[in-house]
């Protein structure tokens, strides 16, 4: 009984994650291709859908705990799904923020080429996708791999920050545009961070081991010191 309910619940979570991943991809595609429709779609149609998933999954988890009193790994899984649900809701908000800033930017001349934003977005949305895959298939190796990509996103984020700071220093008329690019970068960074958190949860479910608070030693042990 519980096994089927858990499978259903995981299935809903995957649908939700797929929606959110799509929202992030669309918010960046809208920016790069200057496509207002995509951006408005994210804000007006998809965000309310995301909220529905959030509410539904929340209720299902609560009912499942009340009805089936899950134990041990089942309990860890339900609790993790509750947290991931909240994570996905946050990421959907980040996609909305990105879309809003993109709407501002596409109506104006570029402050800088967007290659960095593109590669940052690509990595972040892939991290999101993989974090959910890692959860569904309890793939600890993939989860650890995702955690390791976080540094790349942070590095590109830093670079965008430097570029924008330089731009603002030189040309005083592009301040608002620069801030919007930074906002996008910041939101992508958050997506990557949250995906990393999800992967830490996955490791927790599978191994019952909490790595959140000694992340660095873990990673060094697995992959050598961070550069």
């Amino acid at each position: 009984m519980l096994t089927e309910k858990m499978a259903e619940l995981k299935h809903r979570l995957i649908e939700y994650a797929t929606l959110v991943e799509g929202m992030i991809n669309k918010s960046i595609k809208g920016l790069l291709e200057k496509d207002e429709n995509l951006l408005e779609d994210v804000i007006e149609r998809e965000e309310p859908k995301a909220n529905n998933y959030d509410r539904e999954i929340d209720e299902t988890c609560t009912a499942l705990i009340a009805q089936f009193e899950p134990m041990a790994k089942d309990l860890r899984t339900v609790v993790t799904i509750l947290k991931m649900n909240k994570d996905l809701e946050r990421m959907a908000d980040h996609a909305v923020n990105i879309s809003e800033s993109s709407l501002f930017l596409i109506a104006r001349p570029l402050v800088k080429p967007l290659d960095d934003v593109r590669s940052m977005a690509k990595t972040a949305s892939m991290m999101l996708k993989d974090s959910i895959d890692a959860f569904v298939h309890e793939n600890v190796a993939l989860a650890r791999d995702v955690c390791n990509r976080d540094d790349f996103v942070d590095t590109v984020g830093e670079k965008i920050l430097d570029d924008m700071a330089g731009f603002i220093r030189e040309k005083r008329d592009g301040v608002r545009r620069s801030l919007h690019v930074m906002r996008i970068a910041h939101n992508l960074e958050r997506v990557a961070d949250i995906s990393t958190n999800i992967c830490e949860e996955v490791i927790y479910i599978v191994e019952g081991k909490d790595i959140k608070h000694h992340k660095d030693e873990e990673r060094e042990a697995e992959h050598g010191p961070a550069i």
Partner: protein, 253 residues
């Protein structure tokens, strides 16, 4: 999704002598689902479930007022044939009560009393019923041994097979697991959730965790009143009535 209703209880009042037990209970039982009747001891669960196949008629000072419609027909109407009714609405009791006969004869019983003698037909019914009761594999090589030689959990599944053999539409369970150990209990619970594909099931239990696990709908009875009825997931997360909340959180009962 609108659910078909199989049994409608309308303004049911019941009495043992002067003592009123059920108080104006009104409730629709949806088809092909498990409905749990839960509530503290003495609240009238058994009394209510026994109204559905008129088991209470056997008690001399019992009186019933109101209506119970089964597929639209009033069960307490004068021309209702009680034997037919009990074939349509079968029952499994708290204590496994197989007859002191062979496993085979226990299951064949309901068919035999209909005057059917065709050996092959009866064999078929026995096998099919034991399979549905998830017991076939355990007993197929000892069908002619006494049913009383089986474990409690197996005896309860014999009783379920016996009820299934006459092809009922509704099966009533009154505390079917209270005499069983946890493993036998889990088996019966699993069987109940399996059976709801083809039958409408009503289960009486004062074990709230069991009601939560096996049922789709839950009715909470308290002192003969129906306090609350609704989808089990809702009753166990956000009950609407304070008394349900108190019962579930162990404040009384």
């Amino acid at each position: 999704m609108k659910q078909d209703v199989v049994i409608q209880i309308q303004g049911a009042n019941s009495f043992y002598g002067k003592k009123q037990i059920l108080k104006d209970v009104t409730l629709d039982i949806p088809a092909q689902t498990v409905t749990a009747l839960m509530g503290p001891s003495g609240c009238g669960k058994s009394t209510l479930i026994r109204c559905f196949n008129r088991m209470n008629d056997l008690i001399s000072n019992f009186r019933f007022e109101g209506k119970i419609l089964y597929k639209g027909v009033d069960l307490y109407a004068k021309d209702v044939d009680i034997t037919d009714l009990r074939r349509e609405i079968g029952m499994v009791f708290q204590k496994p009560n197989p007859f002191p006969k062979s496993i085979y004869e226990n299951v064949a019983y309901g068919v035999r009393i209909q005057g059917i003698t065709d050996r092959e037909f009866i064999d078929g019914v026995v096998e099919e019923s034991l399979k549905k009761a998830a017991l076939w594999e355990e007993v197929k090589d000892r069908l002619h041994e006494s049913a009383l030689s089986l474990s409690g959990g197996q005896q309860q599944r014999i009783c379920i097979a016996r009820a299934l053999a006459v092809k009922p539409h509704v099966i009533l369970f009154d505390e079917p697991c209270s005499a069983l150990d946890p493993i036998a209990t889990a088996k019966i619970e699993e069987l109940i959730t399996e059976l709801k594909r083809n039958y409408t099931i009503i289960v009486v239990t004062h074990n709230t965790a069991q009601a939560a696990r096996v049922s789709d709908f839950t009715a909470f009875l308290y002192l003969g009143d129906l306090i609350e009825f609704g989808p089990t997931a809702r009753i166990f997360t956000v009950p609407q009535d304070k008394r349900t909340e108190e019962y579930l959180t162990g404040k009384f009962g």
